[in-house]
């Protein structure tokens, strides 16, 4: 391993769902408490925090700044910055937190993601977004309209079938049943997915992730100090970020997300590993097609083979490369700013073999976390974690 200067010593999340009964601040407090409870010993004194919240003002929380969360969780006074970088906001906050610790400026950093998605109705949110698009064409753009043409093109070029898409939903909902923090905890069958209403062809309702409220938090410290808090830290082995054009018009391909390929190649190089070394991955499955694109772009399967690999169980809990053991965005939910940190938490538990019924086989001690999103899925972040010092 080439980096491993930063360790995760605690991680936790709150039960995802429609949390009308909790305020943004209560959700933050719940995630912070969960992360602290996940520390094996001692009480880490937080030197600084990074907060990830993506929607903020568009969804009714006016003016979330660096102070909102520290004030709510008893850390007022600490340095804190809010990160907003589309769907990878939480992943990018984690990456930035790791760099802050690695720089030596702060020793113990809390990275926390909080998102309220449901306080405004879906329609209100869409209307707010409708006015926010590019002045040329993108007024009224919605996420399924963005991803559906990728599915259409993937089917056209590689023969990917609706059953293959559905198999991703079946797997992730199954995994969600084993994750007490998941928004949805019920099995679905391929037949049920294929009988669910079409949203934007070929994507059906059960091909889409829900809108979920949630919060998650991670505590980082230097690898040298990790021993104060645990005998089983998980280290940051590498990370990568990449950008791509924001609009569907200018995408170089509709059968992959090049930002993910770029981000992961940077992360693999930094970690000194390749995709075959990864034991499990938490990836961005906002739609079933997205997970298929992800596992190809991350190098787990050959381009065009993501559909058959999913259908044949290669990404199942006991498969060659388990993907989204937590249930993923499809079942666990996608509270945007919290999503990446909830995925990191799952990787932390999996590498420490604390994931209970959904525990995967850990061979090399390496986990990968990935988000992609923003306008046109133009931002991708990959973080690689390891339990090997």
């Amino acid at each position: 391993m080439s980096w491993n200067k930063v360790a995760v010593v605690g991680a936790g999340l709150i039960k995802m769902g429609e949390l009308f009964d909790q305020s943004y601040e209560q959700m933050a407090a719940g995630a912070y408490s969960a992360a602290l409870a996940g520390v094996d010993r001692g009480a880490p004194e937080i030197d600084a925090a990074i907060v990830a919240t993506q929607r903020g003002s568009l969804w009714g929380q006016e003016g979330i700044g660096g102070n909102t969360v520290p004030s709510a969780i008893g850390l007022s006074g600490i340095p804190c910055t809010r990160v907003e970088n589309a769907c990878p906001s939480g992943s990018d906050a984690f990456r930035i937190g790791a760099m802050v610790v690695a720089s030596g400026v702060h020793d113990v950093v809390l990275v926390i993601g909080v998102e309220k998605m449901r306080d405004k109705s879906t329609q209100e949110g869409l209307l707010a977004r409708a006015a926010a698009g590019h002045p040329l064409y993108n007024r009224g753009e919605t996420a399924p309209v963005l991803f559906a043409p990728f599915a259409t093109r993937h089917m056209h070029e590689f023969g990917t079938t609706p059953e293959m898409l559905a198999s991703v939903a079946v797997k992730n909902h199954h995994n969600g049943c084993l994750d007490p923090y998941a928004h949805f905890q019920s099995e679905v069958t391929i037949e049920q997915v294929l009988a669910s209403p079409l949203v934007c062809s070929p994507l059906r309702l059960l091909d889409c992730c829900p809108q979920t409220d949630g919060a998650a938090a991670v505590i980082l410290t230097s690898a040298d100090r990790a021993g104060e808090f645990t005998d089983r830290p998980v280290y940051v082995a590498g990370f990568g970020v990449a950008t791509d054009h924001p609009y569907l018009h200018e995408k170089s391909t509709y059968v992959g997300l090049p930002a993910t390929t770029l981000a992961s190649s940077r992360a693999y190089e930094m970690a000194g590993i390749g995709p075959a070394d990864v034991d499990m991955a938490e990836v961005h499955d906002c739609f079933t097609i997205t997970e298929i694109l992800d596992i190809e772009d991350l190098g787990f399967v050959e381009k065009g083979k993501g559909g058959p690999a999913s259908l044949e169980g290669e990404t199942a809990l006991d498969g060659r490369i388990p993907v989204n053991p937590s249930g993923g965005l499809l079942a666990k939910g996608h509270p945007i700013g919290a999503t990446g940190l909830a995925q990191i938490t799952e990787c932390f538990w999996q590498l420490r073999e604390e994931a209970g019924e959904r525990q995967v086989a850990v061979r090399n001690g390496i986990a990968l976390q990935h988000n992609v999103g923003g306008r046109g899925s133009g931002v991708s972040v990959v973080n690689i974690l390891t339990r090997n010092r």
Partner: protein, 159 residues
């Protein structure tokens, strides 16, 4: 024969209540051409590379100067989706409708995201030949949509 820039075929397919696009300094020239039912693409004055949506600088040579090249108005469907749910109440009577990425002929590989109209949404497919039609949304806005080539008495290629 197809009229340069797509000619004058026009109609109405989407409701007035749609959230309408608005020009900014970068896209004004594109919308002005649309208003006269001319389909154009931004072309670098220095190296001739095309780009869409319009942008401030040529990604190939970094030249800041550009011009509007008139296109023949024909093209093919690169990918598409049939929208089945009315995400906005104003679209309740419009679903199902087709959102497509169209590769206009002569645009150098640039794609326009638009709608395929005047056909059964089930008939749209990747590679379908299309041609531009114009939707006048008001006195100051015309939006290019596409329809299968060969429909409505057109003598161009058949789908």
């Amino acid at each position: 024969m197809t009229t340069p820039g797509g000619g004058g075929q026009s109609g109405r397919w989407f409701p007035d209540e749609m959230p309408l696009p608005a020009a900014n300094a970068e896209t004004a020239g594109w919308w002005e051409a649309c208003l006269s039912h001319r389909l154009v693409v931004q072309r670098c004055r220095s190296c001739g590379a095309t780009r869409h949506p319009p942008g401030p600088l040529c990604p190939d040579c970094r030249c800041l100067e550009s011009e509007w090249a008139t296109l023949p108005g024909t093209g093919t469907v690169y990918s598409y989706t049939v929208v089945r749910q009315a995400f906005l109440p104003s679209l309740a009577d419009t679903v199902p409708y087709v959102v497509a990425a169209v590769e206009p002929d002569g645009a150098g590989g640039a794609r326009f995201v638009s709608n395929v109209v005047e056909c059964d949404p089930e008939e749209v497919c990747v590679g379908m030949p299309v041609e531009v039609v114009w939707e006048d949304m008001g006195p100051e806005l015309a939006v290019p949509r596409f329809r299968p080539r060969g429909t409505a008495g057109d003598e161009g290629a058949t789908a």
